[in-house]
Symmetry: C2
Subunit: 474 residues, 2 copies
Amino acid sequence: MSLVATTCARSALRRVRLSGWKRSLSTIELDDRRKRVVVLGAGWAATSVLRGLSDKFQTVAISPRAYFVFTPLLASTSCGTLEPRTALESVRSLKPSEYFEASVQSIDFEKKEVLCLSPLQGWDPSKAFSVKYDKLVIAVGAHTQTFNIPGVREHAYFLKETKDAIKIRKRILGCFEEASLPSTSEERRRQLLHFCVVGGGPTGVEFSAELHDLIHDDLSRHYPSLIPLVSISLYDVAPRILSMFDSVLADYAANHFARQGIHVHTRRTVTRIDDGVVHLKEEGPVKCGMIVWSTGLDMTPLIKELKGVKKDHKAGRIMTDGYLHLLDSASEAEHPKVIPDVYAIGDCAVIEGDELPSTAQVASQQGAWLRRHLNRLAKYEAKAIAAPPKAQETSAETTAVDIDSKVGRGFRYHNILTLAYLGSWNAIAQRSKGHGIRGRIAWFLWRGAYMTKTISLRNKIRVPLLWLVRNPHK
Amino acid sequence: MSLVATTCARSALRRVRLSGWKRSLSTIELDDRRKRVVVLGAGWAATSVLRGLSDKFQTVAISPRAYFVFTPLLASTSCGTLEPRTALESVRSLKPSEYFEASVQSIDFEKKEVLCLSPLQGWDPSKAFSVKYDKLVIAVGAHTQTFNIPGVREHAYFLKETKDAIKIRKRILGCFEEASLPSTSEERRRQLLHFCVVGGGPTGVEFSAELHDLIHDDLSRHYPSLIPLVSISLYDVAPRILSMFDSVLADYAANHFARQGIHVHTRRTVTRIDDGVVHLKEEGPVKCGMIVWSTGLDMTPLIKELKGVKKDHKAGRIMTDGYLHLLDSASEAEHPKVIPDVYAIGDCAVIEGDELPSTAQVASQQGAWLRRHLNRLAKYEAKAIAAPPKAQETSAETTAVDIDSKVGRGFRYHNILTLAYLGSWNAIAQRSKGHGIRGRIAWFLWRGAYMTKTISLRNKIRVPLLWLVRNPHK
C-alpha cells in the first residue's frame, strides 16, 4: 500500500469509527453448507493458503492489491532481465469463492467479522462493508521500514512492488541518458552514474549484483564511454552484510563484490536523504544518481492498531503459538489463551519463542502448513458430525487447542536453502549452520530454486525463455 | 509528450528565446570526415530512416522518448494479450552515432542547427544545447487531437503511448473489481461495465474488438456473474465508421459489431467529458466506466511554431514536395522553392497535392524511401568529389532539386493492405478501391502483417509465443 493510500485509509478509518458499525452497508451472509475461511493479504503467505484449500470451505480473499507479487524476481525485473508482468499473478487465478479488492480496517473477534474499505471507492467510509468469518487468516505482510529517516519515502526507491521495479529501471536508463547529454558536466555525470543501495540483506545484495550485470553485460554496448564513470555502493549499519549467512560465505560475498568494483561500506548510519544525496553520519553527504532502499520491515496500520492481542516488543509483529493462533494479551504468560479461529502468518507475525527470518520461504511454508491444517480440521469436523463425541469431551475450554493437537503437529520450519545471487554467474547457498556452497554451483541452485518457485505453468515456460532473451535494449 | 511536459517545454522555450542563443552550452562539432544526418523523432517514420542508413553518415537521433512504440499492438497490449514491453524498442538499439533524449525547441535553417532541451534536465533553459546538421529529417509525429473538447485530457484514455495501454488495462480490471464489491449498487455496476470508445477509425475499432474478446474470452472466467451487465459503445461524428475502407467492408464491420453486441453510434458529437460521463449533443449525458479517445491528430508545439515553411490549412501539417523537402512559404505557388537539406515525413507532414492517410504504413514507407534516397545521395556526392562536374552544372540555384532527380525518383506510396481486426478471429482487408477481403482469411492476413512488421528477431519469436499464452490472469 502506498503512503498516500495508507494515509487516506487511516483518516477514513477514523471517520468510520466515529460513525460506528451501523454504516456498514452489507454483511455477506454465510454459505449455509460450508464454513467460511477469510484470508487477508496477497503475498507469499496468503497465496500459499489459498492454493489448494479444500472446497469444503467457502474461501474469501481480501487484499487492496489484486495480484501476487513474486518478490525475489524484482531485482531481475528492475534491471530488465525479466518482463515486469512475469513477477505478477492475479489473486483471482487462485480461484477463491470470492475476492474483494479492499483493505481490512478493523477486526471484531467477538462478532467474528472484518470491516473493509476499498481503494476503488476512494476509501469512502459510507461504502464500508463487513464480512463474517468462521476462520480468519491474517497475512497482510509488512511495509519497508524507513526508521522515520527524513527523505526516504520521497527520494529513495523501494524493491517491494512491481511498480517500484519499473520506476527503478526507468531511473537507471534516465541516469545514463542524462549523462549522455552534451550539456551535462563531468561532475554531474559521475554523480548520475553512482548508484547507492542501503541495506545489506539478500534483497539489497542481489539487487547490487543484478545492477552490476546489467551495466557491464548490457548497457556497456550502448554507453561504452560512460562505463568507466559508473560506481555502485552498498551501505549497511551492521558490521557485515548478509548476516543470516555463515561468516565464511558472507566474507566470500564481500570479497566477490570488491573484485567486481561494488563498494561495500558496513557500520554506516544514514541520517537523511535528499534528492540525489545520501547523508551518512560517518562521512557526510554522498552524491548519487539513485538510492535504492532495502532495509527492515514496518507493520501495516491494521497490525499497529490491532488491540487485545500479544505482539513482540521489537517490531510490533503479532505473536502466535506453534499452531499459528493469535494470543490473547490479557492471558497470563504461563497459560496463554488463544483467540479462537484466527491465525497470523508471514511477515506480520512471529512464533513465540521461535523467531524465524522474514523471508518468502518462511511465509510460504507457514501458508502451506496452515492450508493442510485447515483441510485436516475440516475432515475432522465432518467426522465429528457423523459420530458425535461424548459430552465430557466438548467443553468450550478445551475445543480449539485440543482439536488442533488431535489433527496434527504444530508448524515446523524446514530450511531448504538460503540463497543469494552475487552477479557474474556467482552465488552463495547455505542449508544450515556450517553447511555452505559458493560459486558457480550455488548459482545453478539459485536459478533452479526460482524455476520451481515460479508458480504457474505459463511462467514456468516464460521465465527461462525470457532469461535466454535477456536484453533490455532489443 | 504528455500535456505537462508540453507546457513545461513551452514556457522553457519562451525563456530560451528571451535570452537568445548565447545560452547554448555546447555545439557538437561536426565529424570532419562524414556528413551528419539529424533525425527528430522515434516513431515509425524516424526509425525507418535510422534502420540501415549508410555509415557514410554520422547519424544523430533526437527524441524526448528513448524508445520506439510499436503502436498498432497497443490495442492488444492494453487488453493484456501482449506484454507491455513487447510494443517497445529502444532507439539506441538502432545504433545511431549519437542519441539525445531531448526535444527540439526551434530550428535555424540558415545556421543549419537545432536547439534542444531535455526533460531529464527538467527542461532547464540554462542547459539548452544546439546540434548542427548537414541533413535534417523532421519526423516528430503528432499528438491526439482533442478538438479542445473540455475534459478529454483529464478524463479520457488515449491509445498513443505504452503507459496509456497499461493505464487502460488497469482501469478495465479496476471497473470489474469495483463492480464485484458488495457495497457497489446495481446502477453503479452497470455504469462501471459500460465502456465507451470515441473515434471510429482503425484504432478505435480494433480496440473495441480486442476489448470484446478480452471480456468474453478471458474475464468471463473470473467474473461470470458480471458479463451480462457489460456493454461497449463506439461513437463517431461521421455517418459511418472506418471511412478509409470501401463501404461494403465498412458495413460488414458494423454488422459484425452489432452481432457481437458492440453498439456503433454514428453521427454523434461529444460536447464535454466528465469523470465517468460522456456528454453527447444528440442524447445528453451517457454514464460509463471508461472513455477511450482515439480521434484525429494535433500538431506538436515545434510544428505549430515553425516559421517560414508552407503548411496545410486544415491540420497545420508541414507541406513537402515529392522528394519530401520542406517548402519555403515565401516562394510562389508555381515555382516552389525548397528549404535545402531538410525533410519532413510521417504524421507531421503532407505531400502537396497527394494527401495520404496518417498511418504507420505511410510513415514507414516514407522513412524507408528517405533512407534509400539519402544513401544514394551519399554515393552520388562521393562520385562527384572523385570526378568533379563542369563549372556550369554547380550553380547554387540548381543543386538541391536537380541532384535529387538525378539520383532517383520521388516518393510513391504502395498500398500493401489496409487491415482492421474486428474481434472473434474476424477482420477486413483492402488492397485498393473495390478489392476487399473479409472474415477469417482477412484475420490471418492481419496477424501475418503484424508478424512481419514486428521488427527485431527477439520480438519475432516472442510475439507469437505471447499470443499463444495470451491470458491476462494466469
